[in-house]
């Protein structure tokens, strides 16, 4: 199975970082939060969520610890590290530049396609 068929890898990373910016969360929480905030457009498959979480952890952008969830279940919680926070800011900047650029191209007058 090819990794992350639903989202570009780098995009998923930034979504996770952004979601964690509000506070620590466990894996399922992150997935459902992304789904919810994106009004069900973005569905994060578990097959890509956990590799991404681990990758980010190995990079030192997020840290994990075991704790109890709302309904008192044992769950592994992820939180942003200071480095991760900095990284998030730069990733957002980059994304905004990129999407603005893409919008400009896409908003070009129709005649250009002729």
């Amino acid at each position: 199975m090819a990794p992350s068929t639903d989202l570009l890898q780098g995009t998923l990373d930034v979504l996770i970082l952004k979601t964690l910016a509000h506070g620590e969360m466990h894996g399922w929480g992150i997935a459902s939060r992304i789904q919810q905030v994106s009004a069900d457009v973005l569905q994060v498959g578990q097959g890509s969520l956990y590799p991404a979480l681990h990758r980010l952890e190995y990079k030192g952008w997020i840290a994990s610890s075991w704790g109890a969830s709302d309904n008192n279940r044992k769950a592994k919680f992820y939180a942003l590290t200071p480095v991760g926070r900095k990284q998030l800011r730069s990733e957002i900047d980059q994304w905004e530049r990129l999407s603005a650029a893409i919008s400009l191209v896409l908003a070009a007058p129709k005649e250009d396609f002729a």
């Binding site: 199975m1 894996g27 498959g45 956990y50 190995y58 990079k59 030192g60 044992k74 769950a75 592994k76």
Partner: protein, 881 residues
């Protein structure tokens, strides 16, 4: 960035967390719970969650793969698999490793040579501050590039550049010290150095101490420092040697220390000769000996060699040669021309730079050929493995994973090749380091050191990439699916594949061509040098140093006469003679002969090589003499006589014969009785200087005595008898070898021989490898085309046609390779023209011989597979495929 790396490293050290399963399970349960909460039945919620989640195993694997340690896991797999597949293809692996070992071994050995001679600093303190001082324009042998004791004192008093100046006595003959007191005397070689020699160079003795300043006084007790090698061989490395005395020339010589192993005087300053001990040299003693010492200076901090040279240019002409004597203009000032300061390393090894670079380039080419060959082999092997790769690709291996696998395999090959190569290099280096008679500086210091090993690692890495990358890109680059479908030995290869292999073979032939042409030119130059008319006949002549008894004047002349008579009666001896100096041995010049009353311009008369000889010497040497030889009747009571060489005679008497005229020599009027051929006195390749021959019996002060014997018997047979006779006449005669005169010639030409032989060896290797390459490609294509050939033969092609076809293809490849190679050779030959002697860089003989050689070899390499192809049984070929 650094933070990230550190974090990763931290995880690398830690074990992989095994809480993944638990985490995934928690995820599932959260999911199920939320589905139940939204109104699903528990079973349905479980089912939906399962579907949503997908493969638990895949999630597990993919998460695990993120761990930094995973890379090593894959590497391990690749290594194991690579080893297995190499084991399966043993023949290929062995050939590949051997070829690689050849290429890498040669490269390490030559790099060690380059490193030892050119790159590694001399074992001095701050060696870049040490300079060699000599005249900017050298003329007239060693006397023309050395200085007197007074000049040394002047330099010390007047210079502003040096924190210390030292030097050594430049005219020590080999075997100039006689070890006595222990049976038959033996000889060792000692060099006199100024007492501050080691201090200025910054060398610390391994044992004992340096010389003290007062040990350079005229009648100071005799002391010596031993060379490390002499201490090891002669004294078994006795740790208590300091303070002991040995008996030299029947006088005690106290050992004050042992030189470090890193500093070998002979290897550094007089390549190809052995120096056993250093002794302090007395400037006072040599004050009236003329130019005798070399100058070595240590620059003050911040002074550059250029600044020192600028100073030397104006300073040296102000030196006195000898303050006691005048040089005709009232003073002996101004004998010296402008001086120049050369960094010591440049002085020792500078003139070898070009030769070493050529050698380096040659061995680099070998490595290139090796890489090309291996690429070829790998391509051939990979083509037969294309199915394997297609299957792996179909099973989900990514392209990068396959390339990684192939590179791991070539890295494995290169690892084993390098190991073997280091072994090979060690053998070569050991052998080279023991070529004591080769006159290359620092050769005995040759070893594989850390720098060389680093170079090796770099080299191995580069070769892996060079020969591994292209085939792996090529193999994995094509459409693997289509390969899976139809690639098998049954079909012919794709055109592009074949083109690549052909290009590789052509470049191999071209490289080999360049190597062979260069080697050919160097060998031809070497043969030319061997053919040089030396002015005497070194073959069938041999020499031995004669120890002289303590007698003077007539008694000594009688000793000579008696000795020559005794030796000439030895059976097999044709003629004998004695000279105090032999050509291509020592380097000694005197002031030139001149015609009385003629005023010569400065620089017109040349420093002159002097030979003080007995009757019979000139004939024994096989020199061509006009006029008469010196006779025993030329003695202290008769007229002084001299024999000039053609060059001196021609200058002094340009309009007539010199014979019977008188010339002035060293203040005496002497009659010219003969003119003799010019000899190559110091260098086989340089032209001759002025030379004169004076009778040993007219009190000119001979310096030692070399007995020359001409005989058809080999020197080794004759030697013991001659030595026996010498010992009978003088029991003090030490045990010495009767050395063929050819040895002196060989010593003089040894650097040229060394380089020519090495480059030729590389060319041979290159040819062999190219041959292997051609064979490999043709043989492989025959195997691949077995079916095609079978069909052709079934359709009526005769065996001859098949044979001709394949040989034709071989020749085609070779022809292109030779054309490319010949063009490259022209360029390369121009760049080595300075190393050639009597040979044009465009030498047609060398070029055509190379052409023929390559064609013949290519034909042979192509013939074997071609014959195999022509023997194919069409029925069998068609059926089995």
């Amino acid at each position: 960035m650094i933070h990230e790396l550190l974090t990763r490293l931290g995880f690398l050290m830690r074990r992989r967390p095994n809480d993944l399963d638990e985490e995934l399970r928690a995820h599932m349960e959260h999911s199920i719970e939320s589905k139940i909460a939204s109104g699903m039945s528990p079973e349905e919620a479980r089912r939906q969650a399962g579907i949503e989640f997908g493969s638990m195993q895949a999630a597990r694997e993919q998460s695990a793969e993120q761990h930094p340690r995973m890379g090593f896991g894959i590497l391990g797999q690749d290594l194991r698999f690579g080893l297995r597949s190499l084991k399966r293809d043993r023949g290929f692996a062995i050939v590949a490793i051997l070829i690689l070992a050849l290429g890498i071994g040669g490269n390490i050995a030559v790099f060690s040579l380059v490193n030892t001679i050119l790159l590694r600093p001399l074992p001095f303190k701050d060696p870049q501050q040490v300079v060699w001082l000599e005249p900017a324009e050298k003329a007239g042998g060693l006397s023309g590039s050395t200085y007197s004791s007074d000049a040394y004192d002047d330099l010390i008093a007047m210079n502003r550049s040096y924190s210390g100046v030292t030097g050594y006595f430049a005219f020590s003959a080999p075997n100039n010290m006689k070890l006595t007191g222990n049976g038959i005397p033996s000889t060792i070689t000692g060099i006199g150095v100024l007492p501050n020699f080691l201090d200025v160079l910054g060398i610390k003795p391994e044992l004992g101490r340096n010389f003290l300043p007062n040990e350079g006084a005229m009648n100071a007790p005799a002391v010596a420092l031993l060379s490390h090698a002499f201490w090891k061989t002669h004294f078994n490395g006795d740790p208590n040697i300091v303070g002991k005395a040995i008996s030299v020339d029947d006088k005690p010589l106290t050992i004050v220390g042992v030189l470090p192993q890193a500093f070998d005087f002979g290897a550094t300053f007089s390549p190809g000769t052995r120096v056993d001990v250093l002794s302090p040299f007395s400037l006072e003693m040599g004050r009236d000996w003329g130019n005798i010492i070399t100058f070595i200076g240590r620059l003050k901090p911040g002074v550059t060699p250029q600044q020192a040279s600028t100073e030397a240019a104006t300073l040296f002409p102000r030196f006195y040669n000898n303050k006691k004597y005048s040089n005709g203009n009232g003073l002996s000032r101004g004998d010296y021309g402008p001086g120049v300061a050369t960094p010591i390393k440049e002085h020792v090894a500078g003139q070898l730079r070009r030769s070493l670079y050529v050698l380096w380039a040659a061995v680099g080419m070998i490595l290139l050929i090796v890489c090309v060959n291996l690429s070829n082999l790998l391509l051939g092997r990979a083509a037969t493995r294309s199915k394997e790769f297609s299957v792996r690709f179909a099973l989900g291996a990514s392209r990068s994973r396959l390339i990684r696998q192939l590179l791991t395999e070539s890295a494995l090959l290169s690892f084993f090749g390098t190991l073997l190569g280091i072994g090979l290099a060690e053998v070569i280096v050991q052998w080279l380091a023991h070529q004591g008679s080769v006159a290359l500086p620092l050769l005995s210091e040759l070893r594989i050191d850390t720098t060389s090993l680093l170079w090796t690692v770099l080299l191995a890495f580069a070769t892996t990439l060079l020969f591994g990358v292209m085939p792996s890109l090529r193999i994995t680059g094509g459409d693997l699916q289509s390969q899976l479908k139809d690639s098998g030995p049954g079909t012919s290869e794709g055109r592009s594949h074949e083109r690549l292999r052909n290009t590789l073979v052509i470049s191999e032939i071209a490289l080999a061509c360049v190597l062979i042409v260069s080697a050919g030119l160097l060998l031809r130059s070497f043969l030319r040098v061997m053919d040089v008319d030396l002015g005497y006949q070194p073959t069938q002549a041999a020499s031995i140093s004669v120890d002289l008894p303590m007698s003077r004047g007539e008694a000594r002349y009688a000793f000579y006469r008696n000795l020559l008579h005794e030796v000439s009666t030895i059976p097999g001896v044709q003629s004998v003679g004695i000279s105090d100096n032999l050509p291509l041995a020592r380097n000694r010049t005197w002031g030139p002969p001149r015609i009385k009353g003629v005023d010569y311009q400065r620089g017109q008369l040349q420093p002159t090589f002097v030979y003080v000889v007995t009757p019979g010497y000139l004939t024994t040497m096989g020199m061509h003499l006009r006029g008469r030889d010196i006779s025993w009747n030329d003695n202290t009571n008769s007229e002084n006589v001299i024999i000039l060489n053609e060059k001196a005679a021609h200058f002094l008497f340009p309009h007539g014969d010199a014979i019977d005229h008188k010339v002035m020599q060293s203040g005496k009027e002497v009659r010219v009785i003969g003119v003799v051929s010019n000899i190559h006195e110091t260098d086989v390749e340089a032209s001759s200087a002025w030379q004169i021959y004076l009778p040993i019996t007219q009190g000119w002060g001979e310096n030692g005595a070399e007995l020359v014997v001409r005989s058809t018997l080999p020197a080794s047979t004759l030697g013991p008898t001659v030595l026996q006779t010498l010992r009978k006449l003088n029991p003090g005669q030490p045990a010495m070898q009767l050395r063929p005169l050819q040895e002196f010639v060989d010593h003089s030409t040894s650097p040229r021989r060394f380089f020519a032989v090495l480059v030729a060896a590389f060319a041979g290797t290159g040819l062999l490898l190219a041959c292997l390459g051609i064979y490999g490609v043709i043989s492989y294509s025959v195997t691949r085309k077995t079916q095609e050939i079978g069909i052709r033969m079934a359709l009526g092609a005769s065996r001859d046609v098949v044979l001709r076809n394949i040989i034709g293809r071989t020749l085609q490849l070779t022809a292109v390779g030779i054309v490319v190679g010949a063009i490259a050779s022209f360029v390369v030959a121009q760049s080595i023209s300075a190393m050639l002697y009597g040979t044009q860089p465009t030498d047609p003989a060398t070029f055509s011989a190379t052409l023929v050689l390559l064609l013949v070899v290519a034909l042979l390499a192509g013939y074997l597979p071609a014959r195999r192809a022509s023997r194919i049984d069409p029925m069998a070929a068609l059926r089995t495929q």
